[in-house]
């Protein structure tokens, strides 16, 4: 069959040819659009993606180096904090004497500070168990010990008392800071001086009581390790807002009493509610509902 006869036979079905032509028209439009999309992606994304890749690779290298250094540090320091948490902060038994001990220290402190009229009354409720889902996917059973505390004191003691209760159970400087603040400082460390991670780790891991007694030696290490103004400004802001009230509290009589009565580290209390009612003669009644915990 020659080309001419094929052409002639094809011409006999014009409608079929137009329909097939339309299908090819649509297919070519789709393919053309694909070309446009790919060219547009290359023009708009290739450069930013190519710029991101070496930065990400460098970040991964820095983080792996920091992990090696931190592992070495952890190996040298051991798991002292975990042991303290298991012994004092969330113990295996109810350990009521440490709860009572903490509130006797509180009473002694406010009486020394304010007047002998100040009173602290504590009621420990019936414990109950709750399952707590953990980050590793497992669940641990926790015994919850509800506490009701009523304190009558002078107005100026309210801030210090609420600070001390909120502080109870925190061990190190890093415990006080919110995750967002910690991560911000770590990311800045990565950007400015990756090897400074050891100093930062040392600072976050510093015992709160030790830090409060001599904050400058800890803070000076950070100031010596970094030069970035942004990092040092964030650090100074964090000291002012989060750590200054603790330094004022623990460097004073409250810290001395906790240390001398062996109540540091103290039990962890989570505040459920706190109420202050004004009384005559500039006095105040604080009523708190707290929870202490032990492992079941």
């Amino acid at each position: 069959m020659s080309v001419f006869s094929f052409h002639a036979r094809l011409s006999d079905h014009p409608i079929a040819l137009y329909m097939s032509g339309c299908i090819f028209l649509l297919l070519s439009a789709f393919l053309l659009l694909e070309h446009v999309i790919v060219v547009q992606q290359v023009a708009s994304l290739q450069l930013p993606v190519l710029a991101d890749i070496p930065v990400l690779q460098q970040q991964a290298r820095i983080l792996e180096d920091q992990i090696r250094v931190a592992e070495m540090q952890s190996f040298l320091l051991g798991n002292a904090e975990e042991e303290l948490v298991r012994m004092y902060v969330i113990p295996n038994q109810a350990d009521y004497h440490r709860i009572l001990g903490f509130f006797s220290v509180l009473e002694q402190w406010i009486q020394e500070h304010s007047s002998m009229k100040d009173t602290v009354s504590l009621h420990i409720g019936e414990p109950h168990d709750i399952p707590v889902p953990l980050s590793d996917g497992s669940t641990e059973i926790l015994s919850v010990h509800p506490l009701t505390v009523t304190i009558e004191t002078s107005q100026e003691m309210v801030d210090d008392i609420s600070h001390l209760i909120q502080l109870a159970g925190f061990l190190s400087v890093g415990d006080i800071l919110r995750e967002k603040e910690l991560l911000k400082l770590l990311i800045m460390t990565e950007e400015e001086n990756p090897s400074g991670i050891v100093t930062m780790e040392h600072f976050f891991g510093a015992d709160l009581l030790e830090y409060s007694q001599n904050p400058h030696s800890f803070e000076e290490q950070i100031r010596r390790s970094f030069v970035s103004e942004a990092l040092l400004a964030t650090f100074a802001h964090m000291l002012k807002t989060s750590l200054e009230p603790i330094h004022l509290l623990l460097a004073g009589r409250a810290g001395q009493l906790l240390e001398s009565s062996d109540m540091w580290p103290s039990r962890l209390f989570v505040m459920q509610s706190i109420a202050s009612r004004m009384l005559p003669n500039e006095r105040i009644r604080l009523h708190m509902k707290l929870e202490a915990y032990s492992r079941s």
């Binding site: 137009y18 190519l50 159970g169 415990d175 807002t241």
Partner: protein, 201 residues
């Protein structure tokens, strides 16, 4: 007239079909062979097109996040998972003293006309339900209810206050003959703004 038009229509059919057949074939071949060659980039000796590059970047980002999580676990204190859960629970509660100070400051700023007009006698921060309860009285004579309404508006304007349940606006007289408006306010707090505004301690 109809006959030549039909003839034109018939004669145009084959070129129409062939044109789009050839165009589609060429575009298809370009899509399969030409486009990938023109848009490939070499990264560490490996030739990648834009889609491979985007996937590679996503993998790298995931890698960095994973390594960062591992680093954070090592560097941040408290590796006991139960302790971490309870610490986060503590971090959800804000400083009562800062909260109280802010409430008293707002009350004081509404006592400018009559000294000590807004007197707050009870403040409760229900940290478990993120609620605040205030009780007190406004001592501003006949305008006590107006000052109370202004005080509520001022509280509502604070970014960390979500909703204030409207109280009853009453005017009463005490034993000294002073006119006052007692109030009890139940306030729902804007949790995320509250945590941004106030420290843990």
């Amino acid at each position: 007239m109809v006959q030549p038009f039909r003839e034109v229509f018939r004669r145009m059919a084959v070129p129409f079909f062939l044109f789009f057949l050839v165009l589609t074939t060429l575009l298809f071949l370009s899509w399969i062979f030409l486009l990938p060659i023109l848009t490939r980039t070499e990264v560490h000796g490996e030739s990648k097109n834009i889609r491979d590059l985007i996937t590679y970047r996503k993998e790298l980002q995931a890698d960095v996040s994973r390594v960062r999580r591992n680093r954070n676990q090592l560097v941040l204190p408290g590796q006991d998972p139960l302790y971490n859960v309870l610490k986060q629970e503590k971090h959800k509660k804000v400083s009562f003293s800062s909260l109280r100070r802010e409430i008293l400051r707002t009350a004081l700023s509404h006592s400018s006309v009559v000294k000590d007009a807004v007197r707050i006698s009870f403040i409760q921060y229900d940290a478990a339900r993120d609620m605040l309860t205030l009780e007190g009285s406004v001592f501003a004579g006949a305008s006590s209810t107006t000052v109370l309404a202004e005080f509520i508006d001022a509280l509502q304007a604070l970014p960390w206050i979500y909703v204030i349940e409207q109280p009853d606006f009453l005017r009463q007289k005490n034993e000294h003959g002073e006119i006052f408006s007692p109030f009890s306010l139940d306030i729902s707090l804007h949790v995320s703004v509250l945590r941004e505004t106030f420290p843990v301690l």
